[in-house]
């Protein structure tokens, strides 16, 4: 187990290193001055530039430059944004939680929809229920996210007026920024009517969450269904039946655990798709998240922001994937599986 943990951490560290290298290299690829792209400062005098030149150790070789860059990243000096002249790390820590919040709710919602439906379809394999769920899931799978989000806005926000069109919270509420997670911030604020504020935040959240989670939940449904069908045809399920267990006992004691365990890493992989979709949806709903921020940065040619945003998002995905891997290993009873000699 220790060996496994070490290997995973090794993978994590090296992937992050490669990401850092890529983001460092981006500063040279983008048009304009490398030093400006790296620091985000537009130099007006030559002495300013020289100061920066030394600060980033540009007088030394490429390897030492990179080491210096890593050092600065570690210290939290990610440079400043062209657009707002704010430190990038601070900007990211304002916008990233909003994206994480949206993705987390969408992931939870997709799991809540996808897994039970997948189980129902898998257990009724080759029956009408299965065919119905599967065909409907194909529909959900093939709908483009941005189109769905626009459709939601047109129908539910504009025509029916049930939900707000865009944003994260009504302008009536002034919530100080603390954690970046809106619900937490509301709860920690000294607002008079917290209930109303939370309700408003939920209403804002619903349409974006729904439009992201429809695609993800159909993917999860398909993965679950396949796994359930496979597990239910296993020898030990039949053996459990012959030992006198009834249908629900077999499913709850042997079916669910065996079906869920192998698909956990696959579900974690869906987080990447989900985050990408979340970025698209953020732009459509003007959700103040990292996706929206990154796209603004691209429009404005804000190179330091693109570099830092890419690093933050990719780092998040890598850390999430590795931690799911480790968690899966921890709860899987087969983890102690050592190869035995077969006679």
């Amino acid at each position: 187990m220790t060996y496994y943990l070490l290997r995973r951490l090794n993978l994590l560290i090296f992937t992050l290193l490669v990401l850092c290298l890529a983001s460092f290299y981006l500063a040279f690829l983008f048009p304009g001055d490398e030093l400006t792209n790296l620091s985000g400062v537009r130099f007006s005098t030559e002495s300013e530039r020289l100061q920066s030149f030394e600060y980033y150790q540009f007088d030394q070789g490429a390897f030492l430059q990179f080491i210096r860059y890593l050092e600065l990243l570690w210290q939290g000096e990610w440079g400043i944004s062209f657009a707002s002249n704010e430190p990038l790390l601070q900007e990211i820590s304002t916008f990233l939680p909003a994206s994480i919040e949206l993705s987390a709710y969408a992931l939870i919602l997709s799991l809540l929809i996808g897994i039970p439906l997948g189980f129902i379809a898998g257990l009724n394999h080759n029956k009408l229920t299965d065919y119905t769920i599967f065909s409907v899931s194909l529909l959900g799978y093939s709908v483009p996210v941005f189109w769905l989000a626009l459709l939601f806005i047109i129908v539910f926000a504009l025509q029916l007026g049930w939900f707000p069109i865009s944003g994260r919270l009504s302008l009536l509420y002034d919530i100080p920024h603390q954690t970046g997670f809106i619900i937490l911030d509301i709860l920690r604020s000294d607002l008079a009517d917290k209930g109303e504020a939370i309700k408003d935040a939920m209403l804002h959240m619903l349409l974006p969450t729904l439009s992201i989670s429809i695609v993800t939940s159909t993917i999860i449904l398909r993965i679950t269904r396949r796994s359930v069908i496979e597990v239910m045809s296993q020898e030990y399920i039949k053996a459990a039946y012959t030992r006198g267990l009834n249908h629900s006992q077999v499913i709850f004691r042997h079916g669910i655990r065996n079906a869920i365990l192998p698909i956990m890493p696959q579900l974690a992989l869906q987080f990447t798709t989900l985050l990408t979709n979340a970025m698209i949806v953020e732009t459509i709903f003007s959700w103040p998240g990292i996706g929206n921020w990154l796209i603004q940065a691209i429009y404005q040619g804000d190179y330091p922001a693109i570099r830092a945003g890419m690093l933050a998002v990719a780092g998040l995905v890598v850390i999430f994937t590795v931690s799911i891997d480790i968690m899966h290993k921890l709860i899987d009873p087969k983890r102690l599986n050592r190869q035995r000699v077969k006679i």
Partner: protein
Amino acid sequence: MPLLDIKNLTLEIETANGWVKALDKINLSMEANEVRALVGESGSGKSLVVKSIVGAINEGWQLTADRMNWRGQDLLGLNQSKRRNVVKDEIAVIFQNPVSSLDPTASLGEQLEETIPDFLIGRGWFWQRRQRRKQLVTRQLQKVGIKNHDLCLKSFPHQIPDDICQKFMIAMALVSEPKLLIADDPTRGMETTTKGQILKLLARLNQTKGLSILFVSHDLLAISSMAQTMTVLYCGQTVEAGRLKKLRKRPLHPYTKALLDSAPSFSKDLLPKSDLSALPGTIPTLQHLPTGCRLGPRCPRAQKECVKIPSMRRIHEHHYSCHFPLHRPIR
């Protein structure tokens, strides 16, 4: 009244080449307190017979029979789940591959405890029932000769050696105190001493508790020490059935003779370094089954008539299906 009475059991499996009869008119009957051996080489459908009896066959396979009774009750009209309900506490099965018939994510203790039927635990508060369950489980493991039972109960199936796993399956099958035990190759992969223990345990249960055993194996030596009757299968067809002693002394079907001859421990007058007798060829696959008597292409006594399925003939309790049995000279 026989305990289990099966007549003309046919199991059809759909393959790429259409429907194939994996089992063709199998006859099998078990009296109370009887130990019957079901023998045949690998691929002769022994395990399929076992699975058909307990209803563990895949969905979509066609199971038909003229008669399939359990203690006088017809099992054929029932669907799989109802059939299992009827037989769940009275028929126990030891499946062929112990590791794959145990849930890999549940501990062995958990799986053994859930097998205990309610009537063995009795009434009481939940902690009393739990204690009783623990006692039963421990006693059961001691019976089959698992010494380190606490460790075994805590382990997962992949953590214990294959022969312990096999013993555990036997313990699991015996825990509900069944009337009929169907043991599909229960001593596979065991060393000789352990095998002896298990066979002794089964024989004792047969004598003291009146347990009937359908012993499926190709280990003729193990079988001959405990079985009274024997059914020989070849390629999904019943070849010969009868008292084991009679069958050994005077087999009527060429296949039975070949099978007995192929076991060196059965022919005591075998000279050192002499050739072992064996039938030419191998058992045909499901896609290439010969018509008529399926032994036909390999049979030393095959004639033109063998392309028709021979009907079951009978001499006293000795059944055989062959056009040219060994006691009749060939024209």
